[in-house]
Point group: C2
Chain length 115, copies 2
Amino acid sequence: MGRVAVDLVVPDVLEESCATRQALERLATKWRVLLIYSLLPGPQRPAGLRRRVPGITQKMLTETLRGMADDGLVARRVLKADPPQHVEYELTPLGRTLEQPLAAICGWARDYGSR
Amino acid sequence: MGRVAVDLVVPDVLEESCATRQALERLATKWRVLLIYSLLPGPQRPAGLRRRVPGITQKMLTETLRGMADDGLVARRVLKADPPQHVEYELTPLGRTLEQPLAAICGWARDYGSR
DNA sequence: CGGGATCCAAATTGATACTG
DNA sequence: CAGTATCAATTTGGATCCCG
């Protein structure tokens, strides 16, 4: 009764197709974490988000929010269709599940960030 | 007795110069989290890291590790100086303080990552 | 006027070949 | 085996223009 040499080609947790890996890549971008963090208090309008995330461009704001909307992390809502167009972004329930993990990271950043 | 309109120019937690913000940006890059994660079990050599982080380039591996070394997150050690050069990277104590926060994120990725 | 889109320059990343 | 150099490809920033 031989022992087959399988070698268990360890499908590492970081395999590119792995859910964990993909989820991480959905967060570890320059702006997503900052935007989610800024949306935790509640719905925000683009202008407000630009203030809360200094340095972000109009463009990256729009693109990043749209990408996060595609991933189901935020929802976009139009408040007024009239000339002065008003729009609001808010975290979805899924997006809000990030609050705890993000708090852990922010806590670390506070405690050890200064190095 | 008038009320002065101060407006409290909220020095938001995400001010570009803020420690939290800078710490976050040191993590929220495409490769750092994955590399730190891969280094948690112990010291690793570049070749091994490339296997553990599929998709990373020789270049980004080197550059990212060097950047993390500059930030004090990892340490580089040369094992042999001879032609077949051997090198090892490992997390510093500071780098290891990321284990818990990272576990929180990875847990999220596992639970909600599939969406 | 606020939100978003477009176009082009600048910065990052990827792919590959090459050196110690 | 690690790391560097080089050039193409992708991504980001900046300024501007458009639409309601």
